[in-house]
Symmetry: C2
Subunit: 395 residues, 2 copies
């Protein structure tokens, strides 16, 4: 009698238990409002969403995530995590787990995903070069050793994807920029630009995918390649951009990805100075300087270009400033918390998420009122990456 | 004995059957590469994805979809379909079904979703005005009757969302542009701009969300509002833009959404002429005209701005032309099939999808080689809308 009564309940429990284990039974949801937050010290990441502003899951075991960066598959489901230790992880952000993980080199710095989403590339310090993997399986597809000077291998930096199924990157030790055409994936066609300047250390792609600009550690100025006209070669711009004659102490080389472009101007972090440089995009000449709180690290435009947000290097890294992109005036100074490491805007710009490493939290700020509207706990958060990056070249 | 053997199998079948019925057990997938294709005559839409280039599901019963348009929730899961008959449908593109549907007016033309994703607005001809709904439930939130001239109601056109949680729209009969600040949703704060020109018939928002530009049916020229400076009022630009003195027969008023902006220029469909107009964005002066195959309808920039694609009004609507945005030369003329109605680029620009109404199919074209790489069957397809629109203002 007891057994008979139990059976329907047991069956129901079994059904429910099994249903949650079946593939395809994780929570169904859109991925357009999702993202990940790097927890550097723990080697983990949090999966978050920006509609209710919640954390959805934590994924662990991702290795050394100092200076880690992230790109997304074109369906915004898979995050590719580039670790400092050469680890490359593919995380399913819907299921909240690692689907593939490889150690692809001994020491790497950043990566990119091809325009069509089929290839993931990683730039390596050791051994110097670029390795290219199938985005679905992380199986190796091609390798581009960064050879120069008769057999030496250069560290590779500033790797981005560009329209036309290309990857573009810089050779730190060789002073070169290479463009890899990946239309035949197994046999990349490489175009090399030599003598572009001493020690390119990072690079950015303009939002339209046209200009590749590398910062130089070994001298002042920047190296610019117009990808619409590679036949014109690499041009030097902003001859005074850099550490300059005085060789000021530089607490952190600013990120070039952080350049804002808005309203016909680029806003650049000055190197070693408490300034944001304003440069006319029409002729790449300096149009002004804005005095700011500290040495800028990221100088980022809100997606509509109306505001430019700036964070700063240690020891002045508890502050964020907001610049009006039209008047070029500072309009606000915020102190969201200790150790502001990164900022990420929602794609339509209504929120900005700011990682506060030493507070173990993320501040979520309304960009119009510039007030903190929510807070999320995170373990020493650094980079924040929203899925909308899937739709943009060069990020 | 037989019954005992059967039980495990029956249990398994029951489990599998139940699992597929449980909520959350539809196929798990990212939504960043999805979209919908309007099937106008049938009142249905197809849900598609651009990675494998397949149709995933058809959703029927959406009413009169002539001139229908679509916006997406910020998570890229829900499509809001604005029907010509006043129908507003909310479609779950993961589940492939309508979650909510209302008849919100007798006659409507287009809609928008607010910057934060919480509100959906519809512009109505009858009764003239804008109705605003909760994006999660389609429950009514606010109503803005388009009153003018002592109690008359104007048809409303050219409704877009803009940064700052605003909706902007034009009153066809009144010759006015209104800006609705929705920060307090139940009580919109309206700013009205009067005497902006006769019979605004459509409008666009510049990609950065700054300029709202309305086309005028009743006279030549365009009305432009700088949303960064509403205090400056509405300005008239391009005094010669329109049907002009000769009053050429106009087979179809071109869509203003179709304006391309690239490389410091806007590319505009001329009205009634076989020309694309080139306008300098710095001063809104005409910089040239490009002779094309017919009366242009959509003039759309590839996302990187390198190419501008143009389709044409009946009877020359079997052709698409490609313009080089830098040299301003025609670089290709394609004839993908009869009745080219719409074009949509994938967000990184490697593909363009073209609806061929009279061929009952979609042509998927590689934008670099400009060759058709796939074809999808569809029932008299018209508008194509990818989920990446969720991340952009004004679309």
């Amino acid at each position: 009698m007891y057994a008979k009564q139990l059976r329907p309940l047991a069956l129901l429990l079994a059904l429910l238990a099994m249903a949650t284990l079946l593939p395809g039974c994780t929570t169904l949801r859109g991925t357009g409002d999702m993202g990940v937050v790097i927890e550097r010290a723990a080697g983990s990441l949090q999966i978050i969403e920006t509609s209710q502003r919640t954390a959805l899951a934590r994924v662990e075991g991702l290795g050394d995530l100092s200076h880690a960066s992230v790109v997304y598959s074109r369906d915004e489901r898979y995050a590719f995590i580039f670790g400092r230790d050469g680890g490359l992880s593919r995380v399913d952000i819907l299921a909240g787990k690692v689907t593939h993980r490889i150690m692809q080199s001994g020491n790497s710095i950043g990566g990119a995903i091809s325009q069509d989403g089929s290839l993931v590339a990683v730039s390596n310090y050791e051994p110097g070069g670029v390795r290219i993997f199938d985005a679905a399986t992380l199986a190796p597809v091609a390798e581009i050793p960064a050879e120069y000077g008769g057999g030496l291998l250069s560290k590779v930096v500033g790797l981005v994807d560009a329209p036309g199924q290309r990857f573009v990157f810089s050779l730190f030790d060789a002073g070169e920029i290479w463009v890899a055409d990946m239309r035949t994936p197994q046999t990349p066609v490489i175009t090399k630009f030599r003598d572009i300047g001493r020690q390119p250390y990072d690079a950015l792609l303009s939002p339209d995918g046209r200009y590749y600009i590398a910062g130089l550690f070994g001298e002042d100025g920047l190296a610019m390649l117009d990808l619409w006209h590679p036949e014109r070669g690499v041009e030097r711009i902003l001859a005074n951009y850099g550490r300059g004659e005085e060789k000021l102490p530089v607490y952190k080389m600013p990120h070039l990805e952080g350049w804002a472009m808005a309203g016909g101007y680029a806003f650049l972090p000055a190197v070693g100075r408490h300034e944001v440089l304003v440069v006319r995009l029409s002729d790449w000449q300096e149009a002004g300087r804005i005095a700011v709180h500290g040495q800028p690290v990221f100088v980022m435009a809100r997606p509509d270009g109306r505001q430019v947000w700036v964070n700063f290097a240690h020891p002045r890294n508890d502050t964020v400033q907001v610049i009006d992109s039209e008047s070029l005036q500072l309009i606000n100074t915020l102190t969201p918390g200790r150790a502001v490491l990164h900022m990420e805007f929602t794609p339509r710009g209504e929120q900005v998420w700011i990682s506060l490493r030493d507070e173990n939290r993320i501040a979520i700020i309304d960009t119009e009122s510039q007030r903190t509207v929510s807070t999320l706990q995170a373990d020493k958060p650094s980079g924040i990456f929203f899925t909308s990056r899937a739709h943009q070249s060069g990020l």
